[in-house]
């Protein structure tokens, strides 16, 4: 009846069988023991399930010299794209199969490389890039989730001391897993955005870096190792900060307002009293077909609303219906004129 006692017995059976010193008489005795009660069988199933699952640890043994036991906490996780996986007892592929898959992948990579396809950069395991108009979700080993906006790229450089992400292009939203011992640092446009456990987005623009915080707090610092370092700026949830060469401009908004800046995650562009020039620039980030403003007089029209980022046509239609704007579709671009 006592579950702890039963589990102990079951573990002794399984460990003995694992030792290899196991004969037919052992097999029979073990079977008999399991027949005695369902509780015995269940104890065996539980232990065996976890024991098999532990084989997956092999994935972490790469790079460790054979016969050596590394210190706790020194695992090497490689980040992977989020992949749904059936729960629990599913056995991973056998090691040999896995090896063959790895070899096949290597051969394929080599083939791609020799074909001269300029994809190698994409295959840097620590660099993630999203296509134009696409939104990509990357789950990192530490539990952090990064959502890449259109045409964006991040490079990961995780170490024992910090979790560093370089925003190479575009915009990303970070849902950072808490780990006080390893701060999460995003580097973009000469700024470091430092978080412990929080949600925020970073946009790397041509002249400024925009940071929007929707949960928790983050710190913004100068990235250069200059002697006179500017004091760091702390941003609370609801902050919308623009960091340019002159300094950091902070708008203390509400969390709801800040969240409109991350509406792209759902595929929308949220316009709030936005000038047409800015709205056009925003749409152009998502689409190959670029919008061009021909007349300066319409550039400052203010518009609002939520629009699908990829539906340029709808945006243009709204403009033509509600504003003194005339659009000319030239195939690869749409030119906006004053009417």
């Amino acid at each position: 009846m006592d579950s702890a006692h039963i589990e102990r017995e079951a573990s002794h059976w399984l460990a003995k069988r694992d030792s290899g010193a196991w004969g037919t008489d052992d097999e029979q005795a073990f079977a008999a023991w399991q027949q005695q009660s369902t509780a015995h069988r269940i104890a065996v199933i539980r232990l065996q399930t976890v024991w098999q699952r532990a084989d997956r640890l092999q994935a972490l043994g790469a790079g460790v010299p054979r016969g050596e036991v590394p210190a706790p906490g020194t695992w090497r996780f490689s980040p992977t794209f989020e992949r749904e996986n059936s729960v629990a007892a599913s056995d991973g592929p056998r090691p040999r199969v896995r090896l063959m898959v790895a070899i096949a992948a290597a051969v394929l990579l080599l083939a791609l490389a020799t074909l001269g396809i300029g994809y190698l950069r994409l295959h840097d395991p620590n660099t993630y890039r999203s296509q134009l108009g696409a939104i990509e979700i990357v789950s990192l080993a530490d539990g952090t989730r990064v959502t890449l906006n259109t045409n964006s790229a991040v490079h990961l450089a995780f170490s024992a001391a910090q979790r560093r992400v370089d925003l190479i292009d575009g915009e990303a939203f970070f849902e950072v897993a808490k780990d006080p011992r390893r701060p999460f640092v995003v580097s973009a446009g000469g700024r470091l955005i430092i978080a412990v456990g929080t949600k925020f987005s970073v946009l790397r623009g041509a002249s400024e870096t925009r940071v929007v915080v929707t949960e928790g707090r983050v710190k913004v610092e100068e990235a250069s190792g200059s002697v006179i370092s500017a004091p760091s700026t702390e941003l609370a949830a609801g902050s919308i900060a623009r960091a340019g060469s002159a300094g950091v401009l902070i708008n203390h908004a509400t969390v709801a307002e800040a969240e409109t800046y991350t509406s792209w995650r759902a595929g929308y562009i949220a316009l709030r009293d936005t000038e047409l020039a800015d709205a056009v620039a925003e749409f152009n980030r998502y689409n190959r077909k670029q919008l061009v403003i021909a007349d300066a007089s319409i550039a400052r029209i203010r518009i609002g609303g939520n629009l699908r980022a990829q539906n340029v046509d709808a945006f243009v239609r709204v403009l033509e219906e509600g504003f003194p704007v005339r659009a000319e579709d030239e195939g690869d671009r749409i030119v906006l004129h004053a009417r």
Partner: protein, 189 residues
């Protein structure tokens, strides 16, 4: 042998163990009794599945848990006084407890690594050589310079500790993470 029933049990029932244990800890007045309670629930589910497998394993598991606790509470009115959760509490909808979510490969691997790191040093060393390097117990014994019998003991112990951490014990530290997950799910949905 009824091997498939065992696979079914591991896949459909054990997968819910963290949630089940969390539930039991919340409504059952005496936490020391939870492992035995869990065992009793499993026995009932397993024996019933031997006859006919339930179409909704998760719902069946929790219904069994509820019935068993209700029975026990009725039988011993003494416990009932001052019980942390009363009988009404046992009627919580299963899906309210925690939305079904499937862990990703990497999360699973992380949890495994954490459980592994929490093992006592000697046990951890044995498990590393046996599980990561896939040495046999004999080879592990030679490598560490100890008796094979001692290795077997550590293997048994490691098995139990990992099981406690990954199945039953995962219930403890996990509630936070799951709360944020469900919030996140709502946000997207």
């Amino acid at each position: 042998m009824d091997d498939t029933l065992e696979n079914w049990f591991a896949r459909e029932i054990l997968a819910h163990e963290p949630m089940l244990v969390r539930y039991l800890l919340r409504v059952w007045p005496n936490r020391d009794e939870v492992p035995d309670l869990r065992q009793e629930i499993y026995v009932k589910v397993f024996e019933s599945a031997q006859q006919v497998r339930p179409t909704l394993p998760k719902a069946f598991l929790f219904a069994t848990a509820r019935n068993l606790m209700t029975d026990r509470l009725r039988r011993s009115r003494i416990i009932f006084i001052g019980a942390r959760g009363d009988l009404d509490d046992l009627n919580v909808l299963v899906d309210e407890l925690s939305p079904e979510h499937r862990t990703t490969n990497i999360q699973e691997l992380q949890r495994l690594a954490q459980a592994f790191d929490d093992l006592p040093p000697q046990c951890r060393a044995v498990m590393w050589l046996r599980k990561v390097e896939q040495m046999s117990q004999k080879e592990v014994a030679a490598r560490l310079g100890v008796q094979e019998k001692a290795i077997e003991k550590q293997v048994a112990r490691g098995m139990r500790l990992l099981t406690a951490a990954l199945l039953a014990g995962a219930a403890a530290g996990e509630s936070d993470r799951e709360a944020t997950k469900s919030a996140r799910g709502r946000e997207h949905g």
